[in-house]
């Protein structure tokens, strides 16, 4: 088992490395964007890029390095600095070196000029995390509860109602749910704020502004869990060991609680666990539509502001989260369900 875990983790790290390398090279192939601001600020940005190795500085115009990015001459200085882009593959090696030696992921170009991308991510992370934690706390019990109710009332009106509801809401795209809840609850009924509360707003408004995002985030997973639990529990309910339990004299309640539910939960728990890793990520669409300053909104902002460094680090975070969640999901199947031997041969 330990060997298998190590193997899976190593594989995930290699995959991550390849993905990030490819993404980095592709991002560097995008046209260079000039940073905004005064000459002084631009100069400090360029010097930082030179330090990191992404831009090369010459004291005279040079050919063979592509387009001249920028030139600058200090007042009273003897020579002018000419900045050119370092060849992409060299940039790639410098990038690896920077990360390995000093964990330096570069600085922002335009969102918060000359601030490290990691710092920006860290600033934006808490909001997304709060939202995700709350929505997991809301959606897991609700989804499982609905699923159990549906399964125990299989083919009765309650089940039909829940199943239809789940089927409809699992099909509707999330951005439509968000749009409709903003339209109905914020604009029509005016019960809830139409966007995320600012830090200066009163606490009551802050609390209210959690409702739509949490609803939007948890609705999909409530439906997902409900469908999953219903399917699992229905299968378990028809199994022979449950019949045996009933024959032994257990009441229906005891049989369900002690035998059916426990077994039905086996495939569901890993899904919940991996969702906790997803807490670190943010929903891009939701955060854009509801003006939330989170990690997903950062993706949109970085795209709008053409801040490719921040965009890259945000992408790297999303990729890492999805990979780690995948590994975790696989591993926890084996840990929770003893019947599954992970990595076993045929």
């Amino acid at each position: 088992m330990g060997k298998y875990i190590a193997k899976r983790l190593a594989l995930a790290v290699v995959t991550l490395f390849i993905i990030l390398s490819l993404t980095f090279i592709l991002m560097k192939l995008l046209p260079f964007e000039m940073p905004p601001g005064t000459d002084r600020e631009v100069f400090s940005y360029f010097e930082n890029q030179v330090y990191l190795g992404y831009v090369t500085r010459f004291e005279e115009e040079t050919s063979g390095y592509g387009r001249l990015l920028w030139s600058y001459r200090f007042e009273g200085a003897k020579s002018t600095y000419y900045y050119y882009q370092t060849p992409v593959m060299l940039q790639y090696f410098y990038w690896l070196k920077n990360i390995v030696t000093e964990w330096n992921w570069g600085v922002s170009r335009s969102i918060l000029p000359n601030v490290s991308a990691i710092t920006i991510i860290m600033m934006r992370l808490p909001t997304s995390m709060y939202l995700n934690i709350i929505s997991v706390i809301v959606s897991v019990p609700l989804g499982i509860g609905l699923g159990i109710v549906a399964a125990l009332n299989k083919n009765k009106p309650v089940d039909h109602f829940i199943s239809t509801f789940v089927m409809i809401f699992i099909s509707i795209p999330s951005f439509i749910l968000i749009t409709f809840s903003i339209w109905i609850f914020a604009y029509q009924l005016q019960w809830l704020p139409s966007q995320w509360a600012q830090p200066t707003d009163p606490d009551e408004l802050k609390a209210l502004s959690f409702i739509i995002p949490v609803f939007a985030l948890s609705f999909g997973s409530v439906c997902g869990y409900c469908r999953f639990v219903r399917a699992e529990l229905c299968e378990v309910m028809e199994s022979e060991y449950l019949l045996l339990a009933r024959t032994k004299g257990l009441t229906k309640r005891q049989a369900i609680l002690r035998h059916a539910l426990r077994n039905a939960m086996v495939p569901i728990v890993p899904a919940i666990l991996s969702e906790f890793i997803g807490i670190l990520g943010g929903s891009t669409i939701l955060e854009r539509l509801y003006a939330i300053n989170g990690i997903g909104g950062l993706f949109y902002d970085a795209l709008q502001w053409k801040d490719y460094n921040v965009l890259f680090v945000d992408m790297a975070l999303f990729t890492t989260i999805s990979l780690v969640a995948g590994v975790f999901l696989d591993l926890s199947y084996g840990l929770i369900d003893p019947r599954i031997r992970m990595g076993a041969k045929k």
Partner: protein, 657 residues
């Protein structure tokens, strides 16, 4: 069937008990060759039951699932209508700002629902025109105008407000304890005691919400020059801060004081400011009158300084419509508590914008083109009264009447004013009904939605087909051959599927531009992975089965095993997955549009939704209807996909007869 075959292949020779075969001699005549019988051939017996094919059986089972059939029908209707969207009479290529953001209309105005009218609340009611402020009563749906009795107060002069008080406020420059004077310096008049001069003024008494207070004293004087040209200052009335009507008989007061005439007379109100706060007086109205004997000049002067509507005076003074204020003061003059009523009404946008309008400028060439069509006549281009409709009873001519001619410049360019039937002017044969309203560019939302849906569906179907092919080949090879081939191929899909799709899309759109083909490439880049892994799973499931082994033993080739034995069994799941990829592609496209990386130059559903997001508050119909269409499509695809999966599952074949 199989038994019959056996019977024919191994016919049982029935022999009598105890007979010895050696004893019997067979000659060739003992046998008859059945084939040689004229015209007779041996055949397997035909099926008595109706034969069925896989497709027919699947279709029959699909039809049993009512929900899926409904889903399929909805998809069909949406597909058909989106491909027929070019038949729509409404243009969605040239922007028309004049008909932008119209309300949805399905029924005639006055139905109260979905009729192109818009409900307005708390709008200002104009008592002059007896209609909501700035709105023609014609454009208000009859019977929907409700005027609130409650007054809405304004403390600055307004075009639409009424009444209130003229508030004469001590200037800050004036200092404390000084007199503030309100007087008609521009309109001095010759006051004769014989002219029955009277003045009535109405005062208000209210401390201001801004902390300023009503003055304790308010005294009315008449000042001027007497016969010897000495200054006269005659106190007429001391009102104090008593509110209400104050009548003063000026002639009587003058006679009492011994004046017959005061020349260059003016009325003046005086009051003193407080030590600590600024003081003011509130004058609701002033009514200065004189008898019949007074000269016309005096009469007009007194009329000019009388006012009943403080707001009107204040407003017209500030906007310079009232060239000189008849009343002057050395303090600040403002209006206080001018009021307006609020009202609610339904506004008929279609009638206002597309109905008969009088604010459209008409050029001669347009009139000329209508004359050539025989819709109207106009014998003299310089005389609007010669304009005549050919068929006044029909609405064929967009110009209903001409009222005014404005020569523009000297070069004989003419511009006319008149009443224009706007929907005819725009080229519609009847009042259009935009069922979903129009968007910010004046496009019919229904046509636009359907045509965007067409593009989105087209894109989604093409990409799904491509992904199906790639995924099928990749998954089959990887699943069938297994081993190192599988290991290597799986690593590639691992890496590709490890990148979140949004990252892939963003990168491709940034690198290659935002067009139709790029988007297709971006989707296909990772879209096939789902199909491939489903195919691979199916291959792993079936390739070890006995029937495959049996076929292999009989010498079947790899291709035969793949295409005849394994693939048909897994096809249901694989095809269903590909069908469900269509809505998810539409979803991806919409998501990427919300990020501002949507398709450029092609109307697609995602672009449509994300562009109209900003209109959510003011024109919800623009986002609600397309949302409903896409949700309906998604739900239908899900239902359809589920039905398809069951129908294509060969293990359920022939079941549930």
């Amino acid at each position: 069937m199989e038994n019959e075959e056996k019977n024919i292949q191994n016919p049982v020779i029935e022999t009598a008990e105890g007979m010895n075969f050696d004893d019997i001699e067979f000659t060739e005549y003992d046998f008859e060759l059945r084939h040689q019988k004229a015209g007779e051939k041996i055949h397997d017996e035909k099926f008595q039951t109706k034969p069925t094919t896989f497709v027919k059986d699947a279709f029959r089972r699909f039809c049993k699932n009512k929900a899926s059939v409904v889903g399929g029908v909805i998809i069909g209707v949406l597909l058909l209508s989106s491909f027929l969207s070019f038949l729509s009479p409404y243009d969605i290529t040239t922007p028309a700002a004049d008909i932008a953001k119209l309300m949805p209309k399905l029924f005639d105005a006055g139905t109260g629902w979905w009729d192109g009218t818009q409900e307005f609340y708390n709008k200002i009611y104009d008592e002059e025109t007896k209609s909501p402020y700035g709105v023609k009563m014609d454009h208000v749906v009859p019977g929907t105008l409700v005027v609130n009795e409650e007054r809405q107060y304004y403390s600055s002069p307004n075009e639409y407000a009424k009444g209130g008080y003229y508030r004469v406020l001590a200037d800050t420059v004036l200092g404390k304890g000084k007199d503030v004077i309100f007087f008609n310096s521009y309109r001095k008049f010759n006051a004769k005691a014989s002219d029955e001069l009277k003045i009535t003024f109405v005062l208000g008494d209210e401390d201001g919400v801004d902390g300023k207070r009503i003055a304790e004293d308010c005294t009315l004087y008449i000042v001027g020059k007497d016969a010897l040209y000495n200054d006269v200052r005659l106190k007429l009335y001391e009102a104090g801060k008593v509110p209400g009507n104050h009548d003063v008989d000026v002639s009587a007061k003058m006679t009492e004081a011994g004046f017959t005439t005061i020349e260059e007379a003016q009325y003046r109100f005086e009051f003193t400011t407080f030590e600590d706060v600024a003081a003011y007086i509130l004058i609701e109205s002033v009514n200065a009158t004189c008898g019949e004997s007074a000269s016309a000049k005096v009469k007009t002067t007194l009329e000019g300084i009388s006012f009943n509507d403080a707001n009107w005076v204040a407003y017209n003074t500030t906007t310079e419509k009232y060239p000189e204020s008849y009343w002057q003061s050395n303090g600040i003059r403002l209006v206080y508590k001018a009021y307006a009523h609020l009202c609610s009404y339904r506004y008929d946008q279609y009638k206002a914008i597309l109905g008969e309008r009088d604010d459209v400028k008409i050029g001669w060439s347009l009139i000329d083109s209508y004359i050539k069509k025989g819709w109207c006549e106009m014998s003299n281009k310089n005389d609007v009264s010669t304009f005549k409709l050919t068929h006044p009873e029909s609405d064929e001519c967009p110009i209903r009447s001409l009222s005014k001619l404005d020569p523009v410049g000297a070069s004989g360019v003419y511009q006319y004013e008149g009443i224009v039937l706007y929907y005819r002017y725009k080229g519609y044969s009847a009042m259009p009904k935009f069922v979903f309203g129009t968007d910010a560019s004046g496009y019919d939302m229904l046509t636009l939605s359907l045509s965007s849906l067409k593009n989105s569906l087209f894109l989604a179907i093409i990409t799904s087909a491509i992904c199906l092919v790639i995924g099928l080949v990749w998954g089959s090879v990887s699943g069938y051959f297994g081993g190192n081939v599988d290991l290597f191929m799986e690593r590639i899909t691992d890496i590709l599927s490890g990148v979140p799709w949004i990252v892939v899309m963003t990168l491709v759109m940034l690198l290659l531009g935002r067009n139709f083909i790029t988007f297709g490439i971006a989707i296909c880049l990772t879209g096939w992975i789902g199909t491939s892994s489903r195919t691979r799973t199916q291959f792993y499931r079936f390739k070890g089965r006995e029937y495959v082994l049996a076929s292999r033993t009989l010498g079947a080739s790899d291709a035969r095993l793949i295409f005849r034995h394994i693939l048909p069994n897994g096809l249901g799941t694989i095809v269903t997955g590909s069908v469900l990829m269509i809505p998810s592609t539409i979803f991806s496209e919409a998501t990427i549009s919300y990020l501002g990386l949507g398709l450029q130059g092609t109307s697609s559903f995602g672009v449509l939704l994300s562009e109209n997001q900003i209109n959510l508050r003011t024109r919800p119909a623009l986002i609600v209807w397309p949302s409903i269409i896409i949700s309906l499509l998604m739900i239908s695809f899900n239902l359809f996909g589920n039905g398809l999966r069951d129908a294509l599952n060969p293990t359920l074949k022939g079941g549930e007869q």
